[in-house]
């Protein structure tokens, strides 16, 4: 098991290095990185400063060295708009995003797991067809549009819920639904197909031969096995989560790192965007590692 964890950790680090390199090189692509790093009204002095600091006169490798050394010391640049170190801004906004994720995940799971299981059990039945339709609709409907429509319905027309920003429980409802539905479709399809696979296995046949009740067969034998692929595809879901968070937070003016990303784009704040991406990579790496540990624990074939 240790080997497995180590392997995953290594993969994550490679990913991080890859992301950082790409971000770095894209930044140097345009040939005029100074313009990217500084606000438009920067003085000549400030420009010279920047060129020196980032060693922009040196070779690409030298610049990369400076970049990495800075990064390892926690310095990823200064935001043009906020004029603060980007890491500071990132960490101040991070808790807000982290607050929204668990409710969205729980909502997504609460819908996806029962629907996925029941669709598999009653394959071809009306529930299966309806769930399938919901899944297809969920994928087709643009996330940001759904959020806006929800705001229109429940906030503007009915006035039941606030239209954005963080606050009390009422403020969580619409963003959670928006982000959650983004995830449900994918989850549900996955659970359905892995349940179908599990139902078809020889050991389920043997469980039935043993005379176990259908309840035990499904909930004990099938489900445990069906959930394992869900865990192993977690990495892909993480990516989806980040994407979903960017759009959802933008629509609901939620002060998290998703909205921060949006601001970085709108205001062309390159240092901010650059660091958000790298920090996102670290965050994803970290959470994936946690999930991998969970996965190694849950699947006995890895544990022993």
């Amino acid at each position: 098991m240790q080997r497995f964890i180590l392997q995953r950790l290594l993969q994550g680090i490679v990913l991080l290095v890859l992301v950082t390199s790409i971000v770095f090189f894209v930044g140097r692509l345009t040939g005029n990185p100074v313009d990217l790093m500084l606000p438009e009204d920067a003085t000549e002095e400030e420009r010279q400063d920047m060129i020196e600091r980032l060693n922009l006169d040196g070779t690409v490798m030298e610049q990369f060295q400076v970049f990495v050394t800075d990064a390892l010391q926690g310095d990823l640049g200064t935001s043009i708009r906020y004029r603060q170190p980007v890491t500071e801004i990132f960490f101040s906004r991070l808790p807000n995003t982290l607050a929204m994720i668990p409710p969205a995940m729980i909502l997504a799971m609460a819908m996806a797991i029962p629907l996925g299981i029941l669709s598999a059990l009653r394959r071809g039945g009306w529930l299966d067809r309806i769930s399938g339709t919901i899944a297809v609709l969920g994928i087709a409907t643009p996330n940001f549009w759904l959020g806006i429509v929800l705001i229109y319905l429940f906030s503007v027309s009915l006035g039941w819920l606030p239209s954005g920003r963080m606050g009390g429980i009422a403020h969580y409802i619409l963003p959670t639904i928006t982000l959650g539905t983004f995830l449900v479709a994918g989850f549900m399809r996955l659970i359905r197909s892995s349940m179908l696979e599990a139902l078809d296995t020889e050991f389920v046949k043997l469980a039935r031969i043993k005379g176990l009740s259908e309840f035990v067969v499904v909930w004990k034998h099938c489900l445990r096995n069906a959930l394992i692929p869900v865990l192993s595809l977690w990495g892909v879901f993480m990516g989806g989560l980040v994407t979903g968070a960017i759009v959802t937070e933008t629509v609901f003016a939620w002060p998290g790192i998703g909205r921060l990303t949006y601001e970085a784009v709108i205001f062309r704040d390159f240092p901010l965007l650059q660091s958000v991406i790298i920090m996102d990579a670290i965050l994803i790496l970290f959470i994936n590692l946690l999930v991998d540990i969970l996965y190694a624990y849950v699947d006995p074939r890895i544990r022993f």
Binding site: I209, N225, P300
Partner: protein
Amino acid sequence: MSQQPALEVRDLHTHFFLRRGVVKAVDGVSFTLEQGEVLGIVGESGCGKSLTALSILRLIPEASARTVKGEILLNGEDLLQKDPAAMREVRGRQVAMILQDPQTSLNPVFTIGNQLHEAIARQGESSAKTVKERAIEVLRRVKLAAPEERTIQYPHQLSGGMKQRVVGAISISCAPDVLIADEPTTALDVTIQLQYLKLLKELQESSGMAMLFITHDFGVVAKICDRVAVMYAGRIVEMGPVREIFDNPAHPYTQALIGSVPKMVSTSERLSTIEGQPPSLSDLPNGCRFAERCALADDRCRSEYPKVYDISASHTASCWKATPG
């Protein structure tokens, strides 16, 4: 008092209902399994033997298949008349089954002990301690070394042969009246196959349970079965005591099957095979289904399905060319 047979299958028909048509996988199968005897069902892949076994347990894939006709009498009661709850009572108590592939028969995420206890607990044992003791006991009966250690291990930590012994243990733990073994040695290493067959024979003899042994290998039949039924394209074409069938196979298919068992006697003997393929089960001919591949077939064979001839008191065959006596 005459003993009633442990299992009696009468005119069983199980069909697959697919988009491309109806596949008559089991098309009128009848046989009797007496108490304490081992009946083999032998035939090539696709002849319907596994499906017959699943039909007995009523575990055919519901979405596409259905038993459309017949009676399955277990200790006199027709299983096909039972509702799902009653049928579940029969499984794992009166009937048990060993599946072919030990690598996939056990659930990879639960320990051997867990899966064994599950089966034992169904027999009405109340205390966890008794269940555990019984588990160790039955693992010893299947000659699994170091049973205490095995119970806390996971399936992937055991070899194929060990896993198949565990599956065997699960089946006999309920002391079934009938044990169905569906090609239990096919997926095992050749070196272990004989050991396992011996084990099954011992278990069967010591418990007195009846066994239905499904295989494609006539050599295996010779080692373990008392009687054998030869199946082809959904029907039984010959049935009788093993000794008799070997000495005097009446149906050309049986003859070919026996002939194709490699005998390490003469080194220059060519491996004889049966030419051709069985007919498609969704498009069966009216006549004898083996006619296409049979050297003796004539027009009557091709147009009329042969009736069942009595070759001797206990030996029957469905062939126009079968000579009684």
